[in-house]
């Protein structure tokens, strides 16, 4: 099954990515590529709506971390919204929750 990525450019520097599907090694390159391209294009305030992510494995996690690096490298920030239970547990176990910013929903992340 593929990961569907919907991209919404909200302003000069704010963009929202809505994910739907599993995050693994198969779907990682696409996500990494999108994040890098957005950051390179000047969209530095990125929000990922993870409400539709059914499952994230170690490869999906690695993709997210290298995405974060790309965004930070361009001087931007990456916010995660509506993270599901399984993904939340993964962030907690790895203590990566200390690195990422979490928001209950995409609206809150965009306004906050």
């Amino acid at each position: 099954m593929d990961l569907q990525i919907a991209e919404k450019l909200l302003s000069e520097e704010q963009a929202l990515l809505t994910l739907d599907g599993p995050m693994n090694a198969v779907t990682a390159p696409e996500l990494k590529g999108r994040l890098k391209a957005l950051a390179a294009g000047g969209w530095a305030q990125l929000v990922i709506d993870m409400g539709g992510v059914s499952f994230i494995d170690s490869s999906g996690l690695a993709a997210l971390v290298s995405g974060l690096k790309a965004v930070r490298g361009a001087g931007g920030s990456l916010k995660l919204a509506a993270v599901g239970e399984q993904a939340r547990a993964v962030f907690k176990l790895t203590t990566l929750e200390r690195i990422f910013e979490f928001y209950p929903s995409a609206e809150v992340a965009l306004n906050g």
Partner: protein, 672 residues
Amino acid sequence: LKTWLRAPVDRLIAALGPEDREKRRSFRLHVFRVIALANLVLGVSYIVWRYTSTLNLDALWFAIPVLLAETYGFFDHSLFIFQMWKPARRVVPPPLEDVTLDVFITTYNEPVELVRLTAEAATRIRWPCLNVYILDDRARPAMRDAAREIGCGYITRGDEWAGMARHAKAGNVSNALLHTDGDFILTLDADQIPAPEIAERTMGYFRDPKVSFVQTPQYFYNIPPTDPFGSDAPLFYGPIQQGKDGWNAAFFCGSNALLRREALMQLGLTDYVQDMEARVRRSIGDLRRGTRSRAASPAQRAALAALRPALDEARQALRQGQPLMLVSDMVREAVAAAQRRMAEGDMAEIAEVLCELAAAGDAEAAEVSGYIDRHRSDLVAAISASPESLGLPAQAVDDLALTRSDEAIPVMALSTISITEDMATAMRLHSLGWRSVFHPEILAYGLAPEDLGSALRQRMRWAQGTLQVLVRDNPLLKRGLTFAQRLQYFTTMFSYFSGFFTLILILAPIVYLLTGISPVTVWSTEFVLRIFPYLILCRLMFLYVARGLATARGEQYSVALFPLWIRAAISVLAGAKLKFVVTPKQRQRGDLLPLVWPQALVMCLTIMAIAYGLAAYIAGRYSDLNGILINVVWGSYNIWMLWAVVRAAFYRLPADWDPKPPAFLFPETQEA
């Protein structure tokens, strides 16, 4: 003709044959074998002569199909002879004692009152330990109430069936087997009213512990005068089944049969294990293919490289017959190791990226990186890479669980590979070494379709189902069957291909009479002398086998339904998805001519061709009188065969038609 023939034959046997009944039977069998052998000799000589001397090389497009059709007929007839070669002689042993009997009455949409008749009669079956159940596939409240009134059990599908494949009657019976525990099971279709002695008369056969089922005939009490729809099957539920029984290949026909629970459960379990083994084998194959996918990272490459030899080892273990559980565990362990290996690579990558972020000034990233490095082995145990990340099919991993998560109940006692579950079930029982019995005594009374449409739909299901078994579980290749059993199943399947050849043999006289083009080189006296003795002897043999039974209508239908047989064969060979059609037990109405237009058309064509051929001969355009006469007789024979079905489309039941089951089935009503 039959009665005319039967009397002298019987008189002849009485005169020549021995007095003793048993000896007379064996004498009769020997007479049959003599006729059959003579028949085979004439048949071989005719067919060889046709191939070597009379093929019309000037019209091969016509000559070859006709010869193929004749060859098919010859093989069909030879298989019939083999089938009848040593019919079973059954003597009922005294019934088994101290065994319990469950009666399963399967219903889908039949009227409650019809099922009630059957269920009430079932409660009157004489057997010390008897339980009657109505298996209501639709869970109708009215049926539940009726079961309560009658005092019999009521079984429906449980919640586990929600959203799962239901497998029609096979699923219904398999479901009920899990809710009951009788040693033997009598299966009855909703309309098949059993006689009280059905168990006493048949239970003795189970004294042989290898006997798995006893089939009794299906008899229909509602067949209208002259049997317009060809429902009566005395030849099948008599000489044919006895013939098959002689080869230990009696057919299970779904209803009016007693089955041994142990055999059904063994069948279900064997089937389950075979299915699981196939799944594990398929899983290993799919995973092996997955390991050859292109790796996107060094971690993935290393993980897959380590997985491959482990899979080879598992495949070897499976071939050596190691327990499935063990093999499945080996594979699952190997896949889990690959997933961990891949995850280690991912964790290393995460830690590295975090180091870079730390170098850019993120103090927390440094801490997290250190934490992940220190706890890597714990982390990969909890957060591994998914099979997809490794490029492995997730379904292959799920299948290793050795469960049938896609089925409502894992053990299906009745085969579900075909829409005629009964034939496939019997074949699997035979292949496991179980024996079977055909008991040629009418012990249940049921309903035949009362309109052409329903009758044809029923035939369609039988034809499609039978051919489906051939495609999915070919008896000629099936392990565990004897040679004779293979042939018995094949004979029935082969006969369902007749449609194509019947069409050729119906068109042939039309072509000849209209065009003068002939499939044979000569219609000479030699031709007549070779074919007619063969055909007449075929006829005689058939009448001798069927002695006194009403078989003419059935014969007409087997020929006249050629469009239906053709459709059935094409649909199965093309792999169409087939549906179990429940045969209606009530009369359907509607315009029936569309059902038989091909037959009506070729009938009209034949009549026109005969008229034209005769006129052309009188006018002097045709000169071969032998050829004209043979084809006129041939065409007339075809018309007579086709007429049965065309006539049935116009058939109206008598106005006062209200058939009742035999009164002796209902003792109370008689007293009242």
